[in-house]
C-alpha cells in the first residue's frame, strides 16, 4: 500500500518538500542547541526548566488520545457515522504520538544517552511509563489503521484477529493522557500542577482540541480530494468538542474555586500570574487573555446549533478552540507550574526562536507522516467508493 504514497499531484510533493525543509531547519536548530547550549537557544532557565517542548508533548498526546472519540463509537458501538472518520483518527494519532515523543526527545540535554531509559528501566519514574505507553499507542494505531485499510483495499472484511488490538487501543487512549498528567500531578513542590483533577482536565482539553483538528483536516480533505469523511461525522465531532470544551472551562472554574476559597498562596499565585499578573510579572497575561477569548468565541459558535452546523462558522469555531487549548496546555500551563520558584520568587519564560524552529521541525515530522498516511488512506477510499455499509464515500 505504501506505493500509493509515491504517486501524487505536484501540490502533494510541494507540501512534502516544504515539510522536509522545516524538518531540516528544525534539525539544524537542534544541533545548534547542543553546540552552544540551551542558555542561548531556549527560553528556559534554572527556575523554569520545562517550557514549549514539554507543552507540545502534553498537547499532542491529548490530540493523539482523542482518536478514541471516533474509534470507540465506530468499532465498539458500531456507530456507522464514524465509519469513514475512524481511519483518519487512527492515522492522526500516529502522527501526534510521534510529535509528542520527539518533543520529549528534543528537551534532552544528552540525546545520545536516551537509550539509558531502556537500559536502566525505572518503573517509579513517570517518563519511563510515558515512553512505554506512547510507543504502544503508536504501534497499535498504526497496526489497526493499516490492517483495516488494507482489508478495505482488497474489498474484504477486516481480519478477526485485529479486534483485540482495537479494544486495546481504545483502553490505551485515555491511559496515555493519564500518564502525561502524572508527569505533573505528583510533584510535591509544584502546587499548580498538583491537582487530582489533572488527568481528567487533560482528557477534557484533549477531547475538545482533538475533534477540532479532525474537523479542520476533514474539511481540507473534502476540498482537495474526492473522499468525503461525512458531513454527519463532522457535525458529531463538533458536538463532542462542545461538551468537552464546557467541561474544560468548568474545570478551570473548579481550580479557581479551590485556590481562591482556600486562600492558600501557593495555589493562588500561579493563577494570578497567568490571568492577572503577579507582583509586576505579567508575561503571560495577554497570552492567556487571547486563549480565554478564543475559548469563549469557540464556545459561542459551537453552542448554537445553526452556527455549529454551518461549515464556515464551524471551521472558525474549531480553529478558535484548537488554538485556545494549544496556547494554554502547550505552553502557559507548563511555565506557570514553575511560578513561584522554590525561593518564592518569579522567573518568567518565553519561547526562543531556536526553540520554536525545533518545535516546528517536530510538528513537520508529524505532519509529514500524517500526510503520507492520509494520502494512502484517501487513495484507497477513493478507489473503494463504497464503505462496508454500502454508503458512498466519494463526492461526484
Amino acid at each position: 500500500m505504501l506505493d500509493l504514497a509515491l504517486k501524487g499531484r505536484p501540490r502533494y510533493w510541494i507540501w512534502l518538500s516544504f515539510l522536509a525543509t522545516m524538518i531540516l531547519i528544525g534539525f539544524i536548530c537542534w544541533i545548534r542547541e547542543h553546540h552552544i547550549g540551551a542558555a542561548f537557544t531556549t527560553g528556559l532557565s534554572r527556575d523554569v526548566t520545562w517550557g514549549f517542548h514539554v507543552g507540545q508533548l502534553t498537547f499532542f498526546v491529548g490530540v493523539a488520545a482523542s482518536a478514541v472519540l471516533v474509534v470507540l463509537p465506530y468499532y465498539f458501538h458500531n456507530y456507522k457515522i464514524f465509519g469513514r472518520m475512524a481511519i483518519m483518527g487512527e492515522f492522526l494519532a500516529v502522527g501526534c504520538v510521534l510529535i509528542a515523543m520527539l518533543s520529549v526527545f528534543v528537551i534532552m540535554g544528552q540525546p545520545s544517552r536516551v537509550w539509558n531509559v531502556i537500559l536502566h528501566p525505572t518503573p517509579h519514574s513517570i517518563i519511563f511509563w510515558d515512553m512505554v505507553v506512547l510507543i504502544t499507542y503508536l504501534s497499535l494505531n498504526l497496526l489497526c489503521g493499516w490492517t483495516i485499510l488494507h482489508a478495505e483495499k482488497k474489498q474484504a472484511p477486516p481480519p478477526k484477529w485485529i479486534k483485540p488490538f482495537i479494544y486495546w487501543a481504545i483502553l490505551w487512549a485515555p491511559s496515555i493522557h493519564t500518564v502525561t498528567a502524572f508527569l505533573y500531578a505528583g510533584l510535591p513542590g509544584r502546587p499548580h500542577w498538583m491537582t487530582a483533577l489533572q488527568a481528567a482536565h487533560f482528557l477534557a482539553t484533549a477531547f475538545a482540541a482533538g475533534p477540532c483538528l479532525l474537523i479542520i483536516l476533514s474539511m481540507i480533505i473534502k476540498k482537495i480530494s474526492k473522499f468525503d469523511p461525512g458531513q454527519q461525522a463532522i457535525n458529531k465531532l463538533a458536538e463532542i468538542a462542545t461538551y468537552a470544551l464546557i467541561i474544560h472551562l468548568f474545570f478551570i472554574g473548579l481550580e479557581f474555586f479551590t485556590a481562591f476559597y482556600s486562600q492558600i498562596p501557593d495555589h493562588m499565585v500561579p493563577l494570578k500570574y497567568l490571568y492577572f499578573g503577579y507582583e509586576g510579572h505579567n508575561g503571560l497575561v495577554t497570552w492567556m487573555a487571547i486563549s480565554t477569548l478564543l475559548a469563549f468565541t469557540g464556545l459561542l459558535i459551537f453552542i448554537f446549533p445553526p452556527l455549529r452546523k454551518w461549515n464556515v462558522t464551524k471551521l472558525i469555531g474549531a480553529i478558535c478552540i484548537f488554538v485556545s487549548i494549544w496556547m494554554d496546555k502547550g505552553f502557559a500551563f507548563v511555565v506557570s507550574g514553575f511560578v513561584p520558584n522554590p525561593f518564592d520568587r518569579i522567573t518568567e519564560a518565553w519561547i526562543a526562536l531556536n526553540e520554536f524552529l525545533v518545535a516546528a521541525g517536530v510538528w513537520s515530522v508529524g505532519a509529514f507522516v500524517i500526510t503520507v498516511l492520509y494520502k494512502i488512506a484517501i487513495t484507497v477510499k477513493e478507489k473503494v467508493v463504497f464503505d462496508k455499509y454500502g454508503e458512498k464515500q466519494v463526492v461526484d
Binding site: H34, I36, G37, A38, A39, T42, L44, S45, R46, D47, T49, W50, V104, I107, M108, G109, Q110, P111, R113, V114, N116, V117, L119, H120, T122, H124, S125, I126, I127, F128, M131, L183, G186, L187, P188, G189, R190, P265, D266, G337, F338, P340, N341, P342, F343, D344, R345, T347
Partner: protein
Amino acid sequence: MINRREFLKIAAFASFIGLGAVSINAFEKKPGKEVLKDINALKGKRWAMAIDTRKFKTQQDFDKVIKACHKAHNVPEIVDPLHEIKWIWTEDYEHSFPGTAEHYISEEVKERKFLLLCNHCDNAPCVRVCPVKATFKRADGITMQDMHRCIGCKFCMAGCPYGARNYNFLPPRDYLKEVNPEYPTRTLGVVEKCTFCNQRIDKGLLPYCVEASEGKIIFGDLADPNSEIRKVLSENMVIRRRPELGTQPMVFYII
C-alpha cells in the same frame, strides 16, 4: 571453508565454554559495594547536616565554605542568575523558608543569610522521577547524582522543591578558571548538584563545606543517637526547609 555441520559444532562448543565462564564468574563475583569499600570510610546510616546560622557572621565565613566546595568540584562560575550553577549558596531568611518564614521574628534573624544546598531528602522526589536512575539514594542516605548517566530531561529539577539542582545550560568548561584534576568536569546538558562529598566520606573525610566552616556546620549520622549531630539537634532550636512536603530534608538550620 567450513561446512554447516562443522560450524554448528564450533558454535555449540563455544557457547558451552561461554556458559561455563558465566557460571564460574557468578560464584566469584562480589557485590561492587563490598569491593570498593575503603577501610577508612566514614560509616553512617543517615548522613545529615546542621548549619549553625548563628555562627556565620561575615561574608567571608560564607565565601570560605562556598569556595571550598565550588573549587574542589569544578563548579563553573556563571554570572547570569538564570543559568548559573551552584552547589551551595546563600539566601535570606524570607526566601529560604517561604511559607514558614515568621514575619515577626527578630530583625537579626531576618537579616541573617542561610546556606542552601541539596537537602539529601530521605524521601527524595528527584530520585522518584529520574527515568534512568542517574540520581539515586545511597544506603547512607546520600542523594547521588551520576553526571555521566544523566540524559538531561530536567524532570528532577521540576521535582525538587528546593531549587538545589543545576542544569548545564552553558558549556561548563568554558567557565572554569582552574580545573581540579581529581574531580570530573561536566558537559553541556546534564544536571549536577551537591553530593555531600561522597568521594570524601568514602575516604574517611568530612565534606569540604563542613571542613571549611571550622565548626559552624555539624555533619554526622542521624541514625546514631550518640552522634554530635543528634546532640546539637536536641539542644537547639532547628528548622528545615519546607518540611510540610514530606520529603524529610536532611539539612537542619540552627536558629
